[in-house]
């Protein structure tokens, strides 16, 4: 799925690819998504953080794979044939970085208006909350929008806010 395939949207709308993880729905900017693949064995990297599963050969490029459950400190699950890896690319100071994230399942593509995005509740550690772009209600479900750049480059622990009592629709 490349950027050319995406239809030109009205300027205040942005398309998000959403995926499911531990019953929550998360969204990433669709322009950052390079492709979606099934899980395959990785080569582990010595002394890497536990959420870095290892690296794979993506058509000649070495691409690290991150387990998003572990990244967010959620309970890890066994990988199955339907486990999905979303390959994301993001431009950083050192050029474009490509990385894969392991999620439970891919869900949908939504067009989301900027005005509909609500700020996430305040987290304790202010610096690290950048990875949350905001929350949005789609068809009565809450979707957590993630910032791909911070997600892939931050080396800090990322903690999801407790969202059970938070309903963005009424904020």
């Amino acid at each position: 799925m490349s950027s050319e395939d995406v239809e030109v949207q009205a300027s205040d709308e942005q398309q998000y690819l959403t995926f499911i993880m531990a019953e929550e729905e998360y969204g990433v900017d669709i322009l950052a998504v390079q492709e979606i693949r099934g899980w395959e064995e990785t080569t582990s990297i010595p002394n890497a953080p536990d959420y870095i599963q290892g690296v794979i050969n993506l058509r000649g490029t070495i691409v690290p794979i991150m387990d998003l459950r572990r990244r967010f400190g959620l309970k890890p699950v066994e990988y199955s044939p339907i486990t999905v890896v979303i390959i994301l690319k993001v431009s950083t100071d050192q050029g474009e970085k490509v990385m894969g994230i392991v999620v439970d399942a891919v869900s949908d593509v939504y067009s989301i208006k900027h005005s509909d995005v609500r700020q996430p509740p305040d987290l304790n550690q202010d610096d690290n909350s950048d990875f949350l772009r905001g929350l949005v209600n789609v068809k009565d479900k809450m979707v957590i929008l993630l910032d791909v750049g911070t997600l892939l480059t931050s080396r800090h622990p990322l903690e999801l806010p407790s969202l059970s009592e938070y309903d963005p629709g009424h904020a």
Binding site: I45, P46, I62
Partner: protein, 671 residues
């Protein structure tokens, strides 16, 4: 002109920059008062083609500037001026200015013309000064002095070969007619050299001409007409004074429309035309000799033959043709390997590309410091990967500057210490194993151990100064923030230096050492891998993981005998091997592998790195193969002990061990 010339710009820039390098090299060899006309000719030819190219492609600034240089060179070439120190200096500066101009244009930027203007005036001043010796032949007219005479008499005697080189004498006459108008031109042919019809060779040129132009025109415009045949004819320009000029032709206004307006000295007007568009990225390119390309084509041809043979074999395959299949596959392997080797060779350039800047640098810096230095370059043909070459340039410059500034002494001091006044600086390059070694040695003062130690203590870089051996003291200069220069100079001594050099070299997977003896000199030795892209590797298994150990660093592999291992309290285990004790690094511990790592039947791979020998404990030795190095950092980050990754035949990824880094990392973990 309807052809899009911009496609040739890149070639022009490359050729011109090469031309400048040639000019520079020759200028540096040229001595004041020299009569070596071959060198002057070489310089002239280089300048001439830069000017020609610049004119063709419309880089008027470059063309104008080069024209002045060329004029001056021409006068020297004709023996009208002696080669002076001043002239050499001016030419060297001109080379710099031209290089800056070309680089700016190449980047698509508007070049800074201020220095060029300044230098132009100086060149003009030299040209205007009548340095013409009285003995100079009168029929050759100094260009600038009489450039706007009232008319010209041109004696044009082409060489016999002129026609064979594709030149048409009459075209030049036509061009002059266009330039000044037909009625101002009188042409007389001299057919005295014409031979008998029986012996006449129709492809030879036996005629010569006298062209009289009764019209005021810049000599340079006329010279331009004959520009391309200059080397193949005998041409004399004679100015006609007012009295000789019989007619005055109104076609004078046609001048600005001359075919190549490049020499019109109107820099300000032309300046605005410079394509000052957004910065253009320059495509990196490489010049490859035709031989290399031809051999590649041959190899691809063989590959195609092997491929078609194999596919034919595969169409109706039965076991009887198994032998042929195996043979074919072997051939395929051989073809692929040869092809790979040759493709890699394309990237290899002789190190003279990196060395060539040093004669100039040594001359300039040596002069600046008042030191007499003789530079010796050795092993210039040693080939090196282009990427490595580009990255090694700056560290080399730094080391050479350092040697000039700190190493070599001034002539007085050298005399006092009984050395010859001229200091010697040697750059040497050679291959050793899979590495290229570059040595920079001088016969200067050597490293001052006391001074280094004092500085290091002052800056708190060492705590127990007594315990250091001379070698360890020498290593201190590579620490960040270290400089012993008494005066911070333009050349070195700002404390950013050797650590950066070392880091740059390490980034290339190389290493640097220094050997020094006080009063005798110092030698810096740089070791670099020949190429960054491919390495011969030994595949090993550690637990469930496969790793690649660079073959060059492996000394031997032996069976691990746990009872031979000595555990020294609180540090790494060591093992006696012949007459040495070798530290043992257990890869599964260093890499924090926990799964299935039973080491009962382990192998010990002895590797030799920057920090000496070390034994790596692995489970199994797998095959040896060439691997293509892929970056792990590109999408991830630097991993201690790992230099990169590669893709194995089955498509999986294996990590490549960085021997020195691994050793260091394991020390740190043990500590």
């Amino acid at each position: 002109m309807s052809v899009d010339l911009s496609q040739f710009h890149q070639v022009f820039f490359e050729e011109s920059l090469e031309g400048l390098d040639i000019m520079e090299a020759q200028l540096l060899q040229l001595q004041a008062g020299s009569t070596d006309m071959e060198a002057v000719n070489t310089i002239f030819r280089a300048a001439h083609s830069i000017k020609g190219g610049a004119g063709t492609f419309g880089f008027a600034d470059v063309a104008q500037f080069t024209h002045l240089v060329e004029t001056l060179l021409d006068e020297i070439r004709a023996g009208q001026r002696p080669v002076t120190e001043h002239a050499i200096e001016l030419f060297l500066q001109s080379v710099d200015v031209l290089r800056a101009l070309l680089l700016a244009l190449q980047q698509g930027e508007r070049p800074d013309l201020s220095t060029a203007e300044q230098l132009k005036q100086e060149l003009q001043k030299v040209l205007d000064s009548s340095a013409v010796p009285e003995t100079a032949s009168t029929d050759v007219v100094p260009a600038a002095a009489q450039s706007s005479a009232q008319g010209w008499l041109i004696e044009f005697r082409p060489d016999v070969d002129l026609l064979r080189t594709g030149n048409e004498p009459f075209r030049m006459v036509r061009e002059i007619c266009e330039l000044v108008g037909q009625e101002a031109v009188t042409v007389e042919v001299d057919s005295s050299a014409l031979v008998d019809i029986q012996t006449l060779d129709p492809t030879s040129c036996y005629l010569s001409w006298q062209i009289r132009i009764d019209c005021a025109i810049e000599l340079s415009n006329l010279q331009e007409v004959f520009e391309w045949v200059e080397d193949e004819c005998d041409i004399r320009y004679q100015a006609l004074s007012q009295a000789h000029a019989t007619r005055d032709v109104p076609e004078l206004e046609a001048q600005p429309e001359a075919p190549v307006p490049a020499v019109e000295p109107e820099p300000l007007a032309v300046k605005e035309e410079v394509p000052a568009a957004a910065k253009r990225p320059v495509d990196a390119s490489i010049r490859v000799s035709i031989d290399k390309v031809d051999s590649l084509i041959n190899m691809v041809g063989e590959l195609v033959i092997t491929q078609s043979m194999l596919s034919q074999l595969g169409q109706d395959f039965d076991l009887s043709s198994l032998a042929r299949l195996q043979q074919g596959l072997m051939q395929l392997e051989q073809n692929t390997r040869e092809l790979q080797e040759n493709v890699m060779k394309i990237r290899m350039l002789p190190i003279s590309f990196a060395f060539s800047r040093f004669p100039r640098l040594v001359r300039d810096v040596g002069g600046q410091l008042g030191k007499q230095v003789q530079l010796k370059l050795m092993g210039e043909d040693t080939e090196l990967d282009k990427t490595v070459m580009e990255k090694i340039g700056d560290p080399l410059v730094h080391l050479v500057r350092n040697s000039l500034d700190h190493g070599l002494e001034t002539p007085e001091i050298r005399r006092q210490s009984g050395k010859s006044e001229v200091g010697h600086l040697t750059l040497n390059a050679y291959h050793q194993g899979g590495n290229i070694v570059i040595e920079i040695s001088d016969d200067g003062a050597g490293l001052n151990e006391e001074k280094i130690l004092r500085k290091a203590v002052e800056r708190g870089l060492v705590s127990v100064p007594e315990a250091l051996t001379p070698e360890e003291i020498h290593q201190l200069i590579f620490l960040p923030g270290f400089s012993t220069a008494d005066t911070v100079s333009d050349i070195s001594g700002r404390g950013v230096g050797m650590d950066v050099v070392k880091r740059n070299i390490q980034e290339l997977n190389g290493s640097i050492e220094v050997q020094s003896e006080q009063g005798v000199g110092s030698t810096f030795t740089i070791r670099l891998p020949l190429t960054l892209a491919i390495l011969d590797g030994q595949l090993v298994r550690v637990g469930n993981e496969k790793y690649v150990i660079p073959l060059v660093s492996i000394v031997e592999s032996i069976q691990l005998e746990p009872r031979n291992m000595n555990h020294i309290a609180g540090s790494q285990p060591v093992m006696p091997l012949r007459d040495e004790y070798i530290p043992i690094v257990c890869m599964k511990d260093v890499f924090s592998l926990t799964k299935n790592t039973d080491l009962s039947d382990a192998m010990l791979v002895i590797v030799d790195g920057e920090r000496g020998k070390v034994g790596l404990v692995v489970n199994e030795l797998l095959g040896q193969q060439q691997v293509v190095i892929k970056s792990l950092e590109q999408n991830y980050e630097r991993v201690p002990g790992i230099s990169g990754a590669t893709i194995l035949g089955d498509g999986t990824v294996a990590l490549i061990i960085d021997v020195t880094g691994l050793h260091k990392h394991s020390n740190e973990r043990a500590a």
